[in-house]
Each structure stands twice: as C-alpha cells, then as structure tokens.
Amino acid sequence: MPSIISLSDIPRSKFDKLKRSFKCSNTQLQEHIVQYAYSHQKIGLFQTYFYMDDEENYLGYISVAPATIQRDSIEDEIDIPNSIKYSIPALKVTRLCTFDGYCRQNVGSSLMLFSTILGAIQQKVIGCRAIIVDSKPEAVDFYKHLDFKEINQTEDSDTIFMVNDILKPKELEESIEQMVLFCEVFNQKELIELLKS
C-alpha cells in the first residue's frame, strides 16, 4: 500500500540521493523540493510530506504551514457576524506537486486530504478552522472538487485565494473514523492518537 512520509523522517544522505529522481515540469515546485524544503524543515519552518507508492517510488509532495486569515476592521456595509471578531487560524498548503509521470493516480487528492487531517489535528491542539491555498488558475477546479471555495484573485499575483472550512470540532467528529482509517492505510499511525484524543 502507499504511504505518506514526512521529510523529517528521511535522513539527509538518503534525501540527497532521492531528490535526483524528483522530476516536475513546474520549475518552481522542482526548485522548492530540491533546494529549499529540507532546510526549511530542518530549522522548523514548514513541513513537507511525500506520497510514496508500494514500490517506494516518490510520486509527489505537499508542503504546509500555519497561517492566518485576517481582515480589515468591520465597516458598516460589511455584515460580518459579531461572533467572528478574530483572525481565523488556518493551515496553508504552500506547495502541492505530483511528479512527472504520476498524474491521474490520485496523488494530489490524497495529499490534500492528508492536509485536512493535519488541519483537524491542528484544530485540536492549537486551533484551526480552514485549509487555504493560493491556487494557480488551472488548478481551481481541482480544489473545488475537494470542496474549496473560490474567493478572489490575489492583488499581487496571478493566484486565486481559495478556502475550505473544516468545520467546528463537533461537526468534524463525523469524519474522525474515516481519518483514522486513512492514517492506518497511509502509515501515519502516530497521528491516530491525536485524532482520537
């Protein structure tokens, strides 16, 4: 069965050999995994996880970081509910990549669902209410399929800001059983206790 592996569980010497096989036609995603992801992880900045198949081929990766959604002060014409006075803690998918030759094998969707599980754990431990992405225009439909809502184009780039509300803890309980099963299948057993807590 496939696995999801944290980059932090891969020794540097092994990673240096592995990274020669990482091929991604998107040069920014290729550059990130080959040059920056390991050092980011090493100094405690952002986390990266790989999707590995049962023959130990690395098919893609996802990088995540905690982030917040902030807003301007409430204006009269904006009817923001009073209950939401704070910034929204979120988990940001900073990079998602399926390596060349492995598209249409459910790699991206699996990694995105894994990010929802990380979001659920973050919610339990320190607070999290949404998974957010800056989507490339061509990936908007992919994220919509995963229940993300398209908000708007960011002012300073060509990306589209998208949000997936992971719901309140009580509402999320409906999915904990499936999340635990997912973690068993993808060999992320250390997360199971956190999900059940």
């Binding site: 952002f46 904006i78 009817d79 960011t154 300073d156 099963l181």
Partner: protein
C-alpha cells in the same frame, strides 16, 4: 474588495488579509449560524473523498 498577502517577500507561505466583500464572503463562512444543510453536505463530501481515496489505495 481585495485579497492580499501579508508578507510580500514570501507570498507562498504568507497569511492573507481580506477587505470588503471578500472579507464578508470568507468570514461569513465561519459564522455560528451556518446552514445545517451546508454542514451536512460538507461532512458527506469529506467522508466520500476519504472513502474513495482509501479504496483506491487499498485495491
């Protein structure tokens, strides 16, 4: 309305700052008075996606 990155030097890892109707659209999503039907739909969607992915991974 606007969606801006909080950190222009590292947009990919940056948080988001919203104004105007974009702020309303997003922050309304987290209201206490959410439509129960929408919550149920989201729960069903997530469970279906998880189930499908588990099926694909184990076949």
């Amino acid at each position: 309305m606007a969606v801006k990155h909080l950190n222009q030097q590292a947009k990919e890892e940056s948080g988001i700052f919203l104004t105007g109707s974009d702020a309303k659209k997003v922050f309304s999503m987290f209201s206490d008075t959410q439509d129960k039907k929408r919550v149920t739909q989201k729960q069903e969607k997530l469970n279906a996606l998880l189930s499908k992915t588990i099926q694909i991974a184990t076949r």
